[in-house]
Amino acid sequence: MEKISLLLSILALIISVAVAYYQNRKENERNKTNLWADYFNTIYKEHLIYKIPESRNYLQFVDNKLIGTEKLIFELNQIRKDSVFFRYNNNSYYVKLKTLLQNLEDYIVKTEEKAFEGGEQTDVMNRIELELDGIYDLISTAYVGAN
C-alpha cells in the first residue's frame, strides 16, 4: 500500500513539473509573440495607416510627366531605415522588404524621366498601386506570423 502511495506521489510530482514546464514555455512563446507584434506596431503603424496613403495622394501627371513623388519616395526610404532592426533579427524578411521598397523607388525615379500619355499614365499609377500592395502584403503577413 505504501509503495502504491509513494508511486502516486512521484507520478503527481512528475506531472506537476511537466505542467509547470509546459506552461512556462507557452508563456515565453506568448511573450515573445507579443513583443514581435509590438515591434511591428511601433515601426509600421504610422507608415501604413497614414503616411503612405497620404504621400500617395501627391502623385499626379502634369504635362505627361509624373510629379509629386518626393513624399512617397521619402516614405519608402523611411520604412527601409525604420526596418533595420529586422536586419539583425529576421534577415530574410528585411531583405525581401528592402527589395520591394527599392524596386518601387527605382520604378518611380526612372518613370519621372519619361513622358506618358493617356492610358499609359493609368498603367503607371496601377503599377505603383500594385507594388505598394506587395509591400503592405509582406508587412501584414509578417505581422500575422508574429501573432
Binding site: 519616395i73 523607388e105 527605382d106 525615379v109 519621372e112 524621366e113
Partner: protein, 94 residues
C-alpha cells in the same frame, strides 16, 4: 593633381537608379582612378537631379566597405550643384 573624378552619364540621363548600375559606374569611373589615401572629390554633373537609394548603395558599397561609412563626407566628398542630391546620397548610404 586634384584628386577629383567628374562622373559622366548619357546626356538624356537625369535620374540614377539601380544597385548594379551604381556598382558599374563606380567600377568604370572611380575605382583605381583616384587615390583614397588623400581626400577624394566625386562630382555629379549638373544634369543629375536625383539618385535612388539603390544606386547610392551600389555606387558607395565598395568605398564604405574599404574606408568606412564615416569616410563619406570626410575623406570622400560629394560635389554637386544640387544640395538635395547631396543630402539624399548622404541619407541613403545604408
Amino acid at each position: 593633381m586634384e584628386n577629383r573624378v567628374k562622373l559622366t552619364f548619357d546626356k538624356t540621363v537625369t535620374r540614377l537608379a539601380g544597385y548594379s548600375y551604381g556598382e558599374q559606374i563606380y567600377l568604370n569611373q572611380v575605382k583605381n582612378k583616384v587615390d583614397f589615401n588623400n581626400k577624394v572629390y566625386i562630382e555629379f554633373p549638373d544634369q543629375i537631379v536625383k539618385a535612388a537609394s539603390s544606386f547610392v548603395q551600389g555606387f558607395f558599397n565598395e568605398m564604405i566597405n574599404e574606408h568606412g561609412l564615416s569616410s563619406i563626407g570626410t575623406k570622400i566628398e560629394i560635389v554637386s550643384d544640387n544640395p538635395d542630391l547631396i543630402e539624399s546620397i548622404c541619407t541613403n548610404l545604408v
